[in-house]
C-alpha cells in the first residue's frame, strides 16, 4: 500500500508539472515520473520481502526479488541519460528562455 501511495504521489506531482509553462518544470515532472516508474517496478517484486539479495540465501521467503532491482538500476541510468539530454535541450536553441508556450508563429497567424 505504501508503494501505491508513493507512486500515486509521484505521478500526481509529475502530471501537475507537465502542465506548467517552463521546460525545466516539465523536466522535473519527468524526474518524478521516472521515480514513479521505479517505485512501480520495485513494488512489482513485492515489498514484503526486504532482505538484500546476496549470495545464495538459505531462506528465500525474506529475501527481496533481485530482478526488479536490476530493472530499476537500468531504468535509473536510462532516465538519467535522458534527463541530461532534456536539460540541454531546455537551454539550447534559444536565448534566455525555456518557456514552452511562446510561439511567435501562432501569435502571428
Amino acid at each position: 500500500m505504501s508503494s501505491a501511495v508513493i507512486a500515486g504521489l509521484l505521478v500526481f506531482g509529475a502530471v501537475y508539472l507537465f502542465m506548467q509553462r517552463e521546460m525545466l518544470r516539465v523536466i522535473l515532472g519527468f524526474v518524478l515520473l521516472g521515480h514513479a516508474g521505479n517505485v512501480v517496478l520495485m513494488a512489482a517484486g513485492g515489498s514484503a520481502r526486504r532482505h538484500e539479495p546476496f549470495g545464495a540465501p538459505g531462506d528465500l521467503s525474506t529475501v527481496a526479488d533481485p530482478l526488479p532491482q536490476a530493472f530499476v538500476l537500468t531504468a535509473i541510468v536510462i532516465a538519467f541519460s535522458i534527463t541530461i539530454v532534456m536539460l540541454v535541450l531546455a537551454v539550447t536553441g534559444r536565448d534566455e528562455d525555456d518557456d514552452t508556450e511562446a510561439d511567435p508563429e501562432e501569435a502571428r497567424s
Binding site: 507537465f18 521546460m23 515520473l33 516508474g37 513494488a43 526488479p68 541519460s81 535522458i82 532534456m86 535541450l89
Partner: protein
C-alpha cells in the same frame, strides 16, 4: 539462419557505431561503415524472410543461453523478418538522402544511425518486455540526437519546440511502458513474452497491465486522442529524419502492438471493438488534420496518423485476412511515406521551403520528383495499381468480411479526403508555371528543416535543379511502391505467412520455450 546469430542484428551495428566514434572524423569510413552495415542487415533480414517463406516458423535464441525464462530471448518469425528488412531498407534510403542533402556531414550522423538501427532491430527481435523497453530507449536516444542534428543552425522557435515535444512525448511513452512492464511483472511474475502467452486473455489483472503497455505504444504510434504531438513534432526536423522516424518509430510501436496483442492477449476478441473504434477515429482525425495543414510535411505527418489508423485496423479485426492486410499496409506505408517525405524533402532542401503556395511549377521544373511524388501520393490514397491499393483493398475486404460496416465507410471516405489533401500539395507545389520558383540561396547544404521559414513566394533566381543523388531515394521508393503493387502477391504471400504466425502464436511460443 541459426537463432544464435540473431543478436548480431544488434551487436554489429553497435560495434560499428562504437568503432566509428573511435576512428573519429573520417567521413569516407563513416559512410562505408554505415552503408555496409545496413546492407548486411538487409541481407540478413532477407535470409530470414526466405527461411520463413512458404512454411512460416520461427527461430529463437536465449541470449547468453541461460535457462528459458532467465535468458532474454531473441525471436524471429516472418513478421519480425519483414520488419527487419523494410526498416533496414528505409534506413539505407533515408541515410542516402541525408548524405545527398548534406545533412550527414557530421561525425555524429553515422554512429547515431547505427545505434538507431541496433535499437530497432533489438526491439523487433526481443521477446522480453523489459528488454523491449531498453531497446525502445536505444532507438530513442539517437533519435533525439538525429532530431536536433537536423536543425544545425539555430532553429526556429517551432523547431525547438518540436524537438522538445518529441523528446517529452517519447519519454512519457517509455515511462508509461516501463510502468506497464512493472505491472506485468507484478501480476504475472514474468516479462517473457512466451511465458506471458495468452495470460491476458485468462487473467484480468494481467490484461490491465498489458493494456498499460499497449497504451504506451499507442501514444508512440500516435493513436487518437494522443496523436497531435506527432503532427507537431515530426515536421520540425529535416526531411530525411522525418522520413526515417516515420518509417521506424511509429512502425516499431505498431509492431509491438501487433505482437503484444497477438501473444499476450492471444487476440482476445473481447476488446477488439475498442480497437476498431479508435482506428476509425484515428483515420478521420488524421486525415482532417492533413487537409487543414499548410506545409507539405505537416500534411504528410497528419497523414501518417490517419494511415496508422488503417494499419492498426488490421490487428483490431484480428482475422487472418485482417492481420495480413494490416501487415501489408504497414510495410507498404513505410515505403510510401518515406517516398513522399523524401520527394517533398528534396524540394524543401533545394528550394528552401515546403510551404504550400510558396512554390509552384515543380512538375515542369522537377519532372522526376513530380512523378515520384505523384506515384507515391496515389499509392497513399490507395489508387491502383500501386501497393497502396492492394493494402487498402485487402483491408477493406477483411473489414467487410467481419461486418465492420462503419470501418469500411470510414476507410472509403478517408481515402477520398486523403486524395484531396494530396491534391492540395500537388496544386500548391507542383502545378503552375515553372518560372516563378527557383532555388533558395543557401541551397547545396540547404537547411531542409526550414519548413516554415518563408511565407512568401521564393525569390527568383536561375540555378541548378535537384541532383540525381537527392532525387534518387524518392524515385527508388516510388518504384518500390509500384513494384509492390504489381507484384503484390509476393508481399501479400509473406504478409499472410506473418499473419498466420500472429493468429496462431504457438510456433513463436514454442521457439522461445525451446531456445
Amino acid at each position: 539462419m541459426s537463432g544464435a546469430l540473431l543478436p548480431l542484428f544488434v551487436a554489429l551495428p553497435l560495434l560499428l557505431s562504437a568503432l566509428l566514434l573511435i576512428v573519429g572524423d573520417r567521413r569516407v569510413l563513416h559512410a562505408v561503415g554505415l552503408f555496409g552495415t545496413l546492407l548486411l542487415a538487409i541481407g540478413g533480414a532477407l535470409w530470414l524472410v526466405t527461411d520463413f517463406a512458404g512454411s512460416g516458423g520461427a527461430v529463437a535464441h536465449g541470449v547468453a543461453q541461460w535457462p528459458v525464462g532467465i535468458s532474454i530471448p531473441f525471436v524471429a518469425d516472418m513478421f519480425a523478418a519483414l520488419m527487419l528488412a523494410v526498416t533496414a531498407v528505409l534506413t539505407l534510403v533515408c541515410s542516402w538522402f541525408a548524405y545527398a542533402s548534406g545533412r550527414a556531414a557530421t561525425v555524429y550522423f553515422a554512429p547515431l544511425v547505427l545505434v538507431l538501427t541496433a535499437g530497432v532491430n533489438g526491439a523487433l527481435l526481443t521477446a522480453d518486455l523489459f528488454n523491449l523497453f531498453v531497446f525502445i530507449e536505444v532507438m530513442l536516444l539517437p533519435s533525439y540526437g538525429l532530431f536536433v542534428l537536423a536543425a544545425r543552425h539555430k532553429g526556429t522557435e517551432r523547431q525547438v519546440m518540436g524537438a522538445r515535444l518529441y523528446v517529452t512525448l517519447n519519454l512519457l511513452t517509455s515511462t508509461i511502458f516501463l510502468m506497464g512492464v512493472g505491472f506485468i511483472y507484478g501480476t504475472a511474475g514474468t516479462v517473457n513474452m512466451a511465458e506471458l502467452a495468452g495470460r491476458a486473455a485468462t487473467d484480468g489483472t494481467v490484461a490491465i497491465s498489458a493494456a498499460v503497455c499497449l497504451f504506451a505504444v499507442a501514444i508512440k504510434a500516435a493513436v487518437v486522442p494522443i496523436h497531435g504531438w506527432l503532427a507537431v513534432a515530426y515536421p520540425a526536423t529535416s526531411p530525411a529524419i522525418t522520413a526515417l522516424f516515420s518509417g521506424l518509430h511509429t512502425k516499431v510501436a505498431i509492431y509491438a502492438i501487433y505482437r503484444i496483442y497477438a501473444v499476450v492477449f492471444d487476440g482476445d476478441a473481447h476488446w477488439l471493438w475498442i480497437g476498431v473504434a479508435l482506428c476509425c477515429l484515428t483515420m478521420v482525425a488524421g486525415v482532417l488534420g492533413a487537409v487543414g495543414e499548410k506545409t507539405t510535411r505537416s500534411v504528410l505527418a497528419f497523414h501518417m496518423i490517419s494511415q496508422i489508423g488503417y494499419i492498426l485496423l488490421g490487428v483490431a479485426l484480428f482475422t487472418l485476412a485482417g492481420l495480413a492486410a494490416g501487415i501489408f499496409y504497414l510495410l507498404h506505408h513505410m515505403i510510401v511515406k518515406a517516398s513522399l517525405f523524401l520527394s517533398t524533402g528534396a524540394i524543401e532542401v533545394r528550394y528552401g521551403t515546403g510551404r504550400i503556395g510558396a512554390l509552384s511549377g515543380m512538375a515542369k521544373r522537377e519532372p522526376v520528383i513530380a512523378v515520384a511524388f505523384f506515384v507515391a501520393a496515389l499509392s497513399l490514397a490507395g489508387l491502383p495499381p500501386f501497393s497502396g491499393f492492394v493494402a487498402k483493398f485487402s483491408l477493406i475486404l477483411a473489414a467487410v468480411d467481419t461486418g465492420h460496416v462503419i470501418a469500411v465507410i470510414v476507410m472509403l471516405a478517408v481515402s477520398l479526403v486523403t486524395l484531396l489533401s494530396m491534391l492540395k500539395i500537388w496544386n500548391g507545389v507542383f502545378w503552375g508555371s515553372a518560372e516563378a520558383p527557383a532555388p533558395h540561396a543557401p541551397a547545396p547544404a540547404g537547411d531542409g528543416a526550414v519548413a516554415t521559414a518563408s511565407d512568401g513566394v521564393v525569390a527568383t533566381a536561375s540555378g541548378r535543379r535537384i541532383s540525381a543523388a537527392l532525387a534518387g531515394p524518392a524515385v527508388v521508393t516510388a518504384c518500390l511502391t509500384l513494384a509492390l503493387g504489381l507484384g503484390a502477391e509476393v508481399l501479400m504471400g509473406v504478409s499472410t505467412t506473418a499473419a498466420e504466425g500472429l493468429l496462431d502464436t504457438s510456433t513463436y511460443v514454442k521457439a522461445v520455450m525451446d531456445s
